[in-house]
Structure formats: structure tokens, C-alpha cells
Subunit: 245 residues, 2 copies
DNA sequence: TAGTGGTCTAGACCACGCG
DNA sequence: GCGTGGTCTAGACCACTAC
């Protein structure tokens, strides 16, 4: 069954046509009125689809002119904000291996409890995983999953994708996250796992992730080898309401 | 004169009311129909305003329930994607000083020319600036501004904000940028300026910035002391069209 | 059942780019 | 002057939440 909303399927279709070269870099998409006729829909719906492409850096709209297809080849795979290993792995072809180092009960760290609210039950599942690409240790991921939301994490799930399990099996509605990126010295245990040599510095990506109903459920600390870390972002200039860059 | 669009002024008003505590964390905003009546507009316009708040991490909409005000205090100042010194300085209270180290003609580096297109004229103005907070050197910013777009950069502008000059004086329409964050070893000149000690590693933020008509005009290399670098982001879960996290 | 947000329509007027 | 995208309206139906 095709229960997808109209504007999303239009966005999907246009995205595919751009990525497959049917609409090429530097040219204009058909006008909104023409697209509305093509897809048998209203202009408002087409515009909603084009907002998706705009946010993903695929087109740039110019008033009075049209929608210019941007050079998406430059953004090839990491189209935006890709930081964690799973995301990279999903979007790129990598010879990647995940090793589960720990899977146990461990309460949410106190400093995180302070940020997300003291009223919460700190009981959580702790998962530590080592990510290896081409026999080289790249990332150590440490996840805390609140038991109140995810009662248990089977070993097989830890080996694969936590998000697939939560979204497809548990039907959880993951909505948003706050992330920070810093560079910090690490202890010996981590240094040994990532083979950090000259300096003991690593890139640390911390994420606090929330469900659609605003309940906090996951804290992730992702520790990257600095020489293999790369964060790519596409940002649009914001005006007036809140400066974004 | 107040030529601002209706939806933006509504977004502005709601943002202020949230930041000033008139709508408090965890409570619901008035429904979209009520807001439409309050502001004397249609529901569609209110919804467009609410999209702005959603993207800025101020509210979470829940179908059938309402718009929940999120804890904006947690995201205090760097609401999203703030990386460069100027942005930080604008949004925070800092005892900050800018020193212009270089202001001269210098062509765009060859590796950047490859990315933005060989047909461009590489003639550019090079600006190197040292950012100091509380007498501590934090960031070295290196900007290349294409002469074809920005013919000249007065000394006074280099001392202050390039973007204010370009937007307010030159009336340029800055639209979007691609950014990368990496960690790299730096040469002695940079190490000396930032007083890098134990390791010669620094955080490098590279930005390619474009105008509304898709012309490339600026390359920035921002070199941060790793122990003072912090990148904060608010990300929403994307589905189907393009994975964002 | 009543109220909410999510989607969609069919119109309208405006500001802008371009010939 | 014409076509473009940007804004806005007044309606409609649906899926979801809560009672």
C-alpha cells in the first residue's frame, strides 16, 4: 500500500530525478505551476515538497526565476549532519564491523541527569561498541537507553542498529536531539581501544535524544579518532527570528 | 515601517514570549485555531510561524494534542550550528578582541577552486584574523572573499563583521553554506599564534558560502584551539527523503 | 465526542527577474 | 508585460489524543 503523503512522494521523486541526473546541476526545475499540473496536485503541495529539497541542499529557489538544481555531487553522500558510525555506514559503502564491548545495566551518569531532569528514573541499559573499518578502530560508541522507554536490548540488536529496533520493533517515534562536538583527552582504556598515539585527544560527540512526546530516552557518547573524524553540514542563512549561522 | 511578513512577526512574537517565560517549558501553546484568531490571520500562516519555532528547537508539535514548549534554557545561547567566532560573540557576552593579522590580495587556493568550479576568477581578498577572549587566543579565522563579488574590503570592515558589511552595505543576499569540521595538525606559525602545546592538533572548520543566486563568493578556514572548541546542534529526525540523523 | 495538529485544495495578490 | 516564486486566505477532510 502507498499511504505516503503526496508531498513526500513528490519530494522523493524529485530527489531521485536530481540524483539520477534527470535534472542536472545549474538548470532550473519546471516551475511550481507546471509541477503542480505534472503531479496532479495544488501548488501548495508542490511547494511543501520543494521545501524538503531546499532543506537538504538539493535546490536553491530564486524569486522571479525558478528553482536551481545545486551541485549535489559535491555533497555526495554525507548530505548533512552525519556524525555517528551507523549513519556513515548506512550512507556509504564501507567494510565496517561492529564489536559489542559491553551490554549491561548502568544508571544514567549524574551530569546527564542534571540536564534532562532529576525526576527521571536513571535506570538504563549501557551499550559500548567498537566500530572498525578496514581493520582499523575508528569509533567507540557508548549508549545509555532508559529502561522506562526501552525495557531491554537483545544482544542481536546491539550488534546491529538500535534505531531500527526502536522504530520498527518498538514503534517508538524518535523526534529530535541536541548534539555537542568537543575535543577532549581520553583515559588509557579508550586510548588503547582506538590506538591513539601522539596525543590522547579524541573527538567526542554527545547526543541527547527525545521521542515525539518530548520524553528523553537516550544519551550517546561517541568517541572518534581525531584523524578519521569528519563532520559535514549544509546550513542556510537565517534572518530575524534566530541566527543559525 | 513594518514590512515584515506576517508569519515572521508571529514567529518573532511567540519566540519572545517563550524566551521571556510567558509560555513556560512543558506547557502547551494555544491551539493553531486560537492563535489564528489572536493574530487575526489564517491557520496556514500560524502554522508557517510554528515551523520556524520547530526548526529552532523551541517547540515540539504533537498531533491531536498541541505544541509543547521545550526547555530552551538547556540550549541557552548557541541555539544551533554556531561555530565561528563572530557568531559566538554576537550571541554571548564575551570580552572579545579581534586582531587583523593580514589583509591582502591572494588568489583562492587551488584545492578550493577544484570544488567550486574552474571557470571562476580566483582573484580574492585574503583576511587573517586572530580572535582573543579574556587575553587568550582562541581562533584564527582565514577568509577568502572573491573580488568578483566583493571588490574591496576596507580595513575597518575587517576589524568588525564581514557579514554586516556584505549584507547591509553591499546588499548581498547570503543564502547557504557547506561546512566541514575536522581535526588536523597545524604548522608552527599557527601553533604559535594559538599557543598549542602538548599536541599540534587544532579543530578546523571550513565553510564554502554562496549567495541567493547560487554564486560562490567566500571560503573560510577557521582554526580553533581544541580545548576551547564546542559545536552545538539541534537536529530533527528525517524520514524517507533524506536521512539527517 | 470534541479538539488538536497534518494534509490538501483553489483561489488571490505581491515582488522579483528577464526580455 | 509575463512568468516566476513568496505570502496569505477560507475552506475541507483526516488521524490522533483525551475524556
Amino acid at each position: 500500500m502507498d499511504t505516503m503523503q503526496k508531498y513526500l512522494s513528490i519530494a522523493q521523486d524529485l530527489t531521485n530525478k536530481i540524483k539520477h541526473g534527470q535534472y542536472t546541476e545549474g538548470t532550473l526545475l519546471p516551475s511550481e505551476t507546471i509541477l503542480a499540473n505534472l503531479y496532479g496536485t495544488s501548488r501548495a503541495t508542490v511547494r511543501k515538497a520543494l521545501v524538503e529539497l531546499t532543506e537538504n541542499g538539493l535546490i536553491q529557489k530564486i524569486k522571479g526565476k525558478g528553482s536551481v538544481v545545486l551541485d549535489t555531487a559535491k555533497f555526495t553522500f554525507p548530505i548533512s549532519g552525519i556524525t555517528t558510525f551507523t549513519e556513515l555506514n548506512r550512507n556509504q559503502q564501507m567494510n565496517a564491523v561492529t564489536t559489542v564491548l559491553a551490554l549491561e545495566d548502568r544508571p544514567l551518569p549524574a551530569e546527564i541527569m542534571k540536564q534532562v531532569g532529576r525526576h527521571l528514573d536513571p535506570a538504563a541499559t549501557f551499550i559500548q561498541r567498537l566500530r572498525t573499518v578496514d581493520d582499523e578502530a575508528i569509533v567507540v560508541d557508548e549508549d545509555y537507553l532508559l529502561k522506562s522507554v526501552v525495557p531491554e536490548v537483545p544482544e542481536i540488536v546491539a550488534q546491529g542498529s538500535l534505531y531500527e529496533y526502536m522504530e520498527d520493533t518498538l514503534n517508538l517515534n524518535i523526534a529530535y536531539a541536541t548534539k555537542t562536538i568537543t575535543v577532549e583527552p581520553m583515559d588509557e582504556a579508550i586510548c588503547a581501544k582506538l590506538h591513539l598515539e601522539t596525543a590522547n585527544l579524541a573527538v567526542v560527540v554527545r547526543s541527547l535524544t527525545y521521542l515525539n512526546d518530548t520524553t528523553f530516552f537516550q544519551y550517546t557518547r561517541s568517541i572518534h579518532r581525531p584523524d578519521r573524524f569528519k563532520f559535514v553540514d549544509f546550513a542556510r542563512r537565517k534572518h530575524l527570528v534566530a541566527k543559525k549561522f
